[in-house]
């Protein structure tokens, strides 16, 4: 008797506790429901529709005033950008939200390093934009990267990263090298090895405190960016250890790492930024998006000293896509906005502001870099150099783990050789062990 009484009491207290807390939680839930429906529920109520766009880093849409322009054209739309600056934070978050089917933005940006993973594993979570947009606007290889085996296009191309070499004309002159961009391009044409050879010449008479290039990894990425075969073959098998492209890029990078021509900086680290400001390296492999970066980090001190020459091979490094998740509540409006943002005219506007290079060839004829940019880079014909590269970039086979494999090679393998004085073989072995860990082998 006593026990049953106690039991019933316990049940009662539990019930009270449960009622209390569920009441509290329900209160919260209701609140947030109200909030979001007030924001997004304008579809029926005559209010505004809020479209959210999730990006990482600087996309240039905001900077180029595209959101304001679109909102002016479509008064019933409000655009909100959710920026997560680090890709390695952005992408896992996006993946989990896509799979949960909630919490995604109406438009999600996808980096080129993640696009194959998205195509292979998340295709059903994205709207097929191939049916919505005119695919012929984009470069074929750009479309191919975002297209599934059965022809579904999950993202529209934004910028791409056609390659050039940015170099410090003043330092070249002091080192007694050729400074004319056309002649320089001719000297290293077709082979990154020739570029490295020029580096050896530079080091013979290098101005004190300067090196030829910022890092061996950047040369690796640049050289690999022109290779058809990277870490995967066209059937999606991992072939990084046999890949001709990787071997070529690795060898060039090793030449840089084992000679004295590298400033041994890690890209996107603070000291790298300082290297720009202090002018400690004379060249950098320069995808179009780097143009804006150099201007920002080198500052006024670098104005007119930088120049741009065509890279040894046409190569691509970086670039992004925007996709519309099927979980978006405002799919129709989101598709409209995504199409508008990636249309040639808008891409040209972003280029004018941020020098992010368009993935739509029809924009190329009308491209105008900002006058400040032109002055900064010694009036180099940036547009022509990058367009020429963009149109000859080969279609590359990308794979699901492209990004972590690349990181293993640059940040483990090459870094050990460059900064710890290990041999090339030791570096390769370390990268191998790392990649096996990445692939779970």
């Amino acid at each position: 008797m006593r026990t049953s009484t106690r039991g019933s009491r316990r049940l009662m207290t539990l019930a009270v506790a449960a009622a209390l807390t569920t009441g509290l939680l329900a209160g919260c839930a209701e609140d947030s429901d109200d909030g979001s429906s007030g924001e997004g529920g304008g579809n029926g109520g005559g209010g505004k529709t809020t479209l959210t766009i999730g990006t990482f880093g600087v996309f240039g849409y905001k900077q180029a005033g595209l959101y304001d322009e679109y909102m002016k054209l479509n008064p019933d739309i409000t655009i909100k950008e959710n920026v997560t600056t680090r890709t390695d934070v952005y992408w896992p978050k996006t993946l989990t939200r896509l799979q949960a089917g909630s919490g995604t933005d109406d438009i999600q940006a996808i980096e080129v390093g993640n696009i194959t993973e998205a195509v292979q594993t998340q295709a059903d979570k994205f709207v097929d934009l191939g049916k919505e947009a005119d695919k012929s606007q984009w470069l074929d290889w750009k479309n191919a990267q975002a297209t599934t085996k059965d022809g579904k296009l999950i993202g529209l191309g934004t910028d791409i990263g056609p390659m050039a070499i940015c170099y410090r004309k003043d330092l070249f002159e002091k080192a007694g090298l050729e400074t004319d961009r056309a002649k320089l391009a001719e000297q290293w044409k077709g082979d990154w090895g020739k570029y490295v050879d020029l580096g050896k010449d530079y080091m013979k008479k290098a101005p004190s405190g300067t090196k030829f290039v910022d890092s061996a990894s950047s040369v690796y990425n640049a050289a690999l960016g022109g290779e058809v075969e990277r870490y995967y073959d066209k059937d999606g098998n991992v072939v990084w250890d046999k890949s001709a492209g990787v071997k070529k890029a690795w060898n060039v990078a090793m030449e840089v790492a084992t000679s004295d021509m590298s400033a041994k900086l890690k890209q996107f680290d603070k000291p790298w930024d300082q290297g720009y400001a202090n002018g400690t390296f004379a060249t950098v492999a320069c995808p179009a998006w780097m143009i804006g970066y150099i201007q920002e980090k080198s500052g006024d001190a670098g104005k007119g000293k930088w120049d741009v020459a065509a890279a040894p091979t046409a190569a691509n490094w970086g670039g992004s896509f925007v996709g519309v998740p099927t979980a978006s509540k405002n799919q129709k409006e989101a598709i409209k906005l995504a199409k508008w943002l990636t249309a040639p005219e808008q891409q040209a506007k972003v280029f004018a502001k941020q020098a992010s290079f368009p993935s739509t060839p029809s924009a190329y004829s009308g491209l105008k870099p900002a006058t400040a940019t032109q002055a900064y880079f010694s009036d180099a014909p940036i547009t022509e150099i990058f367009s020429a590269s963009a149109e000859t970039i080969p279609t590359q086979y990308l794979g699901a783990k492209d990004q972590p494999i690349g990181t293993a090679i640059t940040d483990i393998g090459i870094l050990q050789v460059e900064q710890k004085g290990k041999s090339a073989d030791e570096g390769w072995d370390a990268a191998t062990a790392e990649i096996k860990d990445v692939l779970g082998q």
């Binding site: 009484t5 019933s8 934070v89 896992p92 993946l95 594993t121 000291p271 940040d411």
Partner: protein, 342 residues
Amino acid sequence: MTSSKEALAHPASSADAAPGDQPGAAGRAHGRGTPPPGSSSWRSRLYRWDMKASPYAFIAPFFIVFGAFSLIPLLYTAWYSLHNVQLANLDGQTWAGLDNYQNLLSSDFFWNALWNTFTIGVISTVPQLLMAIGLAHLLNYKLRGSTVWRVVMLTPYATSVAAATLVFVLLYSWDGGMINWLLEFVGIDPVNWRESDWGSQFAVSSIVIWRWTGYNALIYLAAMQAIPADLYESAAIDGANRWQQFIHVTIPQLRPTILFTVVVSTIGATQLFGEPLLFGGVSGSKGGSEHQYQTLGLYMYDQGWIIGNLGKASAIAWSMFLILLIVAVIQLLVSRRLRKSQ
């Protein structure tokens, strides 16, 4: 009065388990309204429930939140650790049994991370606590503006990890960093702090030491101020100088506090994550090109969120949990020993 009593009784009886002394009777419609024998009025019954139930209701939110955000994730992680789960395919998990754990035991990276966690833990915790005791002892003297000193002690702790680490990254930068500049000044070759084995661990530890020394010092200070003054007086009468007083009076009296700070610091050291991650800069989760400062926390993050192998990351998480349990047991034994010896 009776009608309101009736009205009150209704919602209560609708809750199935009515709390009378005769739970069986409460269920019957017949029994409603007639108070069970031996029990007093409805009001006093309500009062009794209130006494019994309210405390549970008040503590419930914590346990509900604990369950939702700690217990369920903990168990879910255990479930994940027995599966092959990829970040890009959360629903496509396949049973892997203990594969993930076996994988870890045979992985050089895991043992390396475990060893790093241990070494960084030792070289950050030991000097940190020694310095904290020393500082607390100094602060325990009669000082002018003692509050100012104490607040200053706590400011590093109040600084965010990110801000502090970014400053340290600049200090330790091998090309133009202030520390290498100072070294050069006294004629020592610059050290590549991020890539050298001990240099990087030392650098990470220094961030931890900088952040937590003041915090621990304040805890010690609080304990020191609770030590009765007559102990010092009698020690002084016996001819003990300041140092002898510190060794023979302060330290023994601080024992439980020291044990507490050791426990807390050990837990912190085992979970060390933010400092090495940010110290590494781009791709900091690798903990250097040779993983020379990759802690278990970093390894877990790298496996789970960079590589996307959530099953293995979960196994690492549980291994960390088990390691902490072992550490807790050891510390329990030590503290028992200490208590006995007192």
